[in-house]
Symmetry: C2
Subunit: 195 residues, 2 copies
């Protein structure tokens, strides 16, 4: 039931069409959730049949008609209930971990490449988060924002993503360092080594 609540949360700020949501979940919300258009349209239909969102058709002249979905009272209530329920622990499920775990001597090159890519991605995300953060704070201080903003969630989740990517970069650095060390000690004709 993950996507369900992610969609509801995404509709908290403003109503949206399936298409708009697919943009958010492809780029913006994808920071911590992703979904294809198909999933979103399906989820929206289910949410509507459960009465948690309400869609109205907006006729457009020069574009296909669209259905704009908004949260209902029941939808807001559902979010309250969801928030109050126990959170089950999340596993990482990152392919990169599996690759590193499984890597033998032959794979170190490929693993290095994978980690360099990951580090690059993490750096890009971090930069994006920093831009989003600046926009969100809009010149004000963090303290002021946390005091005055209607909802603190958007800022604090952003900080969560930011810290996650920073840690990610550090981990990639550590792994790449370790691989370097390996390579060097494999190359040097190691004099005093145990067979």
């Amino acid at each position: 039931m993950g996507l369900r609540h992610a969609v509801l949360a995404s509709l908290l700020d403003e109503e949206a069409t399936g298409y708009e949501l697919s943009k958010r979940f492809d780029v913006s919300v994808a920071d911590y959730w992703s979904a294809t258009p198909q999933q979103l349209y399906r989820e929206l239909e289910r949410l509507e049949s459960d009465g948690l969102v309400h869609g109205r058709v907006v006729e457009q002249e020069r574009r296909p008609n669209k259905r704009v979905f908004a949260l209902t009272e029941a939808g807001r209530e559902e979010l309250h209930i969801f928030i109050a329920q126990p959170t089950r622990p999340t596993a990482m499920r990152d392919d990169l971990l599996v690759k590193l775990l499984a890597a033998g001597a032959d794979d170190l090159g490929a693993v290095r490449k994978a980690f360099e890519e990951r580090r690059e991605q993490a750096r890009n995300k971090l930069a994006r988060y920093d831009r989003l953060r600046d926009r969100l704070l809009d010149g004000k201080s963090e303290t002021a924002h946390l005091r005055d903003a209607k909802r603190v969630g958007p800022y604090l989740t952003l900080m969560g993503g930011r810290m996650y990517e920073q840690q990610n970069i550090l981990w990639c650095d550590a792994v790449l360092d370790a691989l370097d060390q390996r390579e060097r000690s494999a190359l040097t004709p190691d004099p005093g080594d145990r067979p």
Copy 2:
């Protein structure tokens, strides 16, 4: 195809029955992957019919017979191929993020509770990782281990998990601090505030 490779990687060190794997994936490998027994039995069957693992029945006297699965050459090859393939970026998909994002003024108590729980879980995991680390290093230094060990994956993934949990704790601290600030500024009769 996530579980598939996680299972293969788990069989790299030693063969196992579905039951044993379910233990690993419930506790140990669950550090970064989790699966129910049913998933594992199904996955093992698929892997066997694809020739990536091979199971042999071990007759037991005082226990039900069991099937012990081991990697085949094709299984090892599959892991090499997997490692060399591009890694697709992983989304976080953490309910806690959605909860925080969606939280309004009424939900701050519930959110606080959720974050305190998460922090506690993270601390426990961290402690477990530290124990595993000590066992893995077995008195040797990190440098020595990285130089001499057959595979560096187990240690480096452990360090990844460790860093992840440390960052998790810091994030929980930050969020809980922010919620505290909120509460205080909501309680104090704020004199010079904009309506």
